[in-house]
């Protein structure tokens, strides 16, 4: 279970960063007062445009960032005071976390298995299952550097699941994958949900969120504008599908047309 209570994340900008984003303020608010609750056996989607704060929220959940205000609890553990316990429970994958190109998927799978304290036998069993599912077995001894983009992503997913985590946090899990591979990833996420795991993903692909997520929170400019099941969101916005609902919400926030 993930509980986020009044999470606010403010970044301090260096002079260089201030110059880059052309601002005179030395602070930027990535997330403002976000609260949500995601239960086990659910796929929870954070939906929002680029720069909305989805990745920041996921990094806060994964203990990589500390909340400026508010608190986050993962499986009952606070992400700041009990970060190590949180890290035992989660599998985290984002596009900017990569596998070391020097090593083979097999080596990295075993390495991270050891870091997570998984026994040798269990690592072997997990590797067989995951590598087989994602079709990595034939490539498991090649260097990551030599793998295709899709294969790298699949290997990264497999490695992030080595310790059979209770909570799976994926930042845009199908980004850069072809539709066949993307489907195998979303199918696997559904299977994890079936096993009672909590999966939280971020995405800007509306159709993916529609098909995959049990609950969706739409985040625009760091603020949660709506949270609920697909039906609840469509009902409250009076729209036919998620894309229309999203633009309706976007219009409300920006007070104009979403162009």
């Amino acid at each position: 279970m993930i509980e986020i209570n009044n999470l606010t994340k403010i970044y301090k900008l260096s002079r260089k960063q201030m110059h880059q984003v052309k601002t005179k303020k030395n602070m930027t608010t990535a997330i403002e007062n976000l609260s949500l609750r995601a239960e086990d056996g659910q796929i929870f989607g954070l939906l929002g445009p680029n720069g909305a704060g989805k990745t920041t929220a996921l990094r806060c959940i994964a203990t990589l960032l500390k909340p400026t205000e508010g608190e986050i609890r993962v499986s009952g553990f606070d992400t700041v005071t009990r970060s190590q316990d949180v890290r035992k429970k989660i599998g985290f994958l984002t596009n900017d976390i990569k596998l070391d190109p020097q090593f083979s998927p097999r080596y990295l799978f075993e390495f991270f298995g050891r870091l997570h304290g998984v026994s040798k036998d269990e690592v072997d069993a997990r590797r067989e299952e995951l590598f087989e599912y994602f079709g990595i077995t034939g490539f498991q001894d090649k260097k990551v550097d030599e793998l295709s983009t899709g294969m790298k992503q699949k290997a990264a997913i497999a490695v992030s699941l080595v310790h059979d985590p209770e909570v799976i946090i994926f930042d845009e899990p199908t980004n850069g994958l072809d539709i066949v591979t993307a489907r195998s990833v979303t199918d696997y996420l559904k299977m994890l949900k079936g096993r009672g795991k909590l999966v939280i993903i971020s995405t800007h692909i509306m159709t993916e969120a529609e098909k995959l997520c049990d609950r969706i929170a739409v985040i625009i400019e760091g603020r949660k504008v709506i949270e609920g099941s697909l039906d609840e969101i469509l009902e409250s916005t009076g729209t036919e599908n998620l894309e229309e609902a999203f633009f309706e919400l976007y219009r409300q926030v920006n007070g104009g047309t979403a162009q």
């Binding site: 960032l65 890290r87 984002t94 070391d100 190109p101 020097q102 090593f103 991270f112 870091l115 997570h116």
Partner: protein, 407 residues
């Protein structure tokens, strides 16, 4: 703490499974340094031979007849041009300035008569020389003429005038005393070694640590592979120590390979290419205590180097930036090593408390057998403490999202 072992194993595997890295880390630097030594030895020997073989062009004005006879019988006297009293020296001087001619020797007019008829109170006859000290040939020609020709010429004249030259010698100094130098041979060679080796050890240790350290920390940050370790449930300090220890092993190994190959290759190079003097009697024996002291100093020194480099690497956002941070430190460390090559005096005790500098002087003293136990202990502890403090700062930085996530 198990995590330290896993991280170390991964870091070492990464290096040793990469053939290019192994070559560039362990093979090329050694080959390069030995090659350079061979080249320098070869060039020095050639240059020396060249100067010795060169036939100097020498102008001689007002030469007495007997001097001329001597010159004609001396091998290697060179290309001689005799000039009379009235001849202008300016052309000859210009040739000296331009390095075309090597030496001008001017005898006073009527030199032979003045010597012959000398009475007490007369002006002493003079020979003047002109040469160009910035030209090696000219310098060598002058030295050859003064010591090899003019001085014997004077002795001959003196013998003619006095009869028994020994009467005016009064006494000699060390003419039959081959044992005049009383010194500990090992200490003397050690002193020579001590002035050179810290410099080389520093060079190799730091250069190795620099490339590897920046790659292992900044490189991992830049490639996005560091974050995957940060979200695993091991202590950040385990990651830091795992990286620091594996870097120490790699640097120590590269330095050991370097020192061993130097010891094996240098005598061979020196006999092949001449220039053996530098290495004369370079056999040096250490007592077990000295060996232990040396190992201790090198180990804590490597620890400190790795800590310094890792610290710079943690704060750098890109490998390029990391290299830019470390380069000035490298120059400073080289400076500390170089000081020992020139500064041979005893150092005050507080110098042994200055990290980096103290290891250099301690190694120098160790080779020269001058390192006291107290000096050793101070060096060891202060270096270890400095490395420890820096490592603690690195662990703190690893816990900072600003540093690790560029947030």
């Amino acid at each position: 703490m198990k995590g330290i072992g896993y991280i170390m194993k991964k870091e070492l595997t990464r290096v040793f499974s990469d053939k290019k890295l192994v070559l560039s880390l362990f093979v090329f630097p050694v080959a390069l340094i030995i090659g350079m030594y061979a080249l320098i030895g070869n060039l020095t020997a050639n240059a020396e031979e060249n100067v010795n073989a060169h036939e100097p062009a020498v102008y001689i004005q007002n030469s007495p007849d007997d001097f001329r006879e001597i010159l004609e019988s001396v091998k290697g006297a060179g290309d001689l041009k005799f000039m009379d009293a009235g001849d202008d020296l300016e052309v000859a001087k210009e040739e000296i300035r331009q390095g075309i001619a090597e030496l001008i020797i001017v005898f006073d007019e009527g030199f032979a008569e003045a010597v012959q008829d000398y009475k007490t109170g007369d002006a002493i006859p003079q020979i003047r020389t002109f040469y160009n000290p910035s030209e090696e040939y000219s310098e060598a020609a002058r030295s050859f003429y003064l010591n090899g020709i003019i001085e014997p010429y004077r002795q001959t004249i003196l013998a003619g005038r006095i009869g028994d030259v020994e009467r005016i010698t009064v006494f000699t100094i060390d003419s039959d005393n081959p044992d005049m130098m009383i010194q500990d041979e090992e200490k003397a060679t050690g002193k020579m070694l001590g002035s050179m080796l810290p410099y080389f050890i520093t060079l190799i240790l730091f250069a190795g640590a620099m490339n590897l350290g920046i790659d292992a920390i900044t490189g991992e940050k830049e490639r996005g592979t560091m974050a995957s370790m940060l979200i695993s449930p091991i202590n950040r300090s385990s990651i830091v120590l795992g990286k620091v220890f594996s870097l120490m092993i790699l640097c120590g190994l590269s330095a050991a390979i370097y020192v061993i190959s130097m010891v094996l290759a240098l005598p061979h190079i020196s006999t092949t290419f001449g220039g053996g003097d530098i290495l004369e009697g370079m056999t040096i024996r250490f007592t077990p205590v000295q060996i232990i002291e040396m190992i201790c100093i090198v180990v804590v020194l490597v620890f400190l180097y790795v800590a310094i480099i890792s610290l710079a690497a943690v704060f750098a956002k890109t490998v390029k930036e990391g290299t830019a941070y470390v380069t000035p430190i490298y120059i400073f460390v080289l400076g500390a090593g170089m000081v020992t090559m020139f500064n041979q005096g005893d150092s005050a005790l507080y110098y042994y408390m200055i990290p980096l500098y103290n290891s250099s002087i301690a190694l120098r003293d160790l080779f020269a057998r001058d390192l006291s136990l107290l000096e050793f202990a101070i060096t060891f502890i202060s270096t270890l403490a400095a490395g420890g403090i820096l490592t603690a700062v690195i662990v703190k930085a690893f816990n900072s999202e600003k540093v690790m996530m560029n947030a």
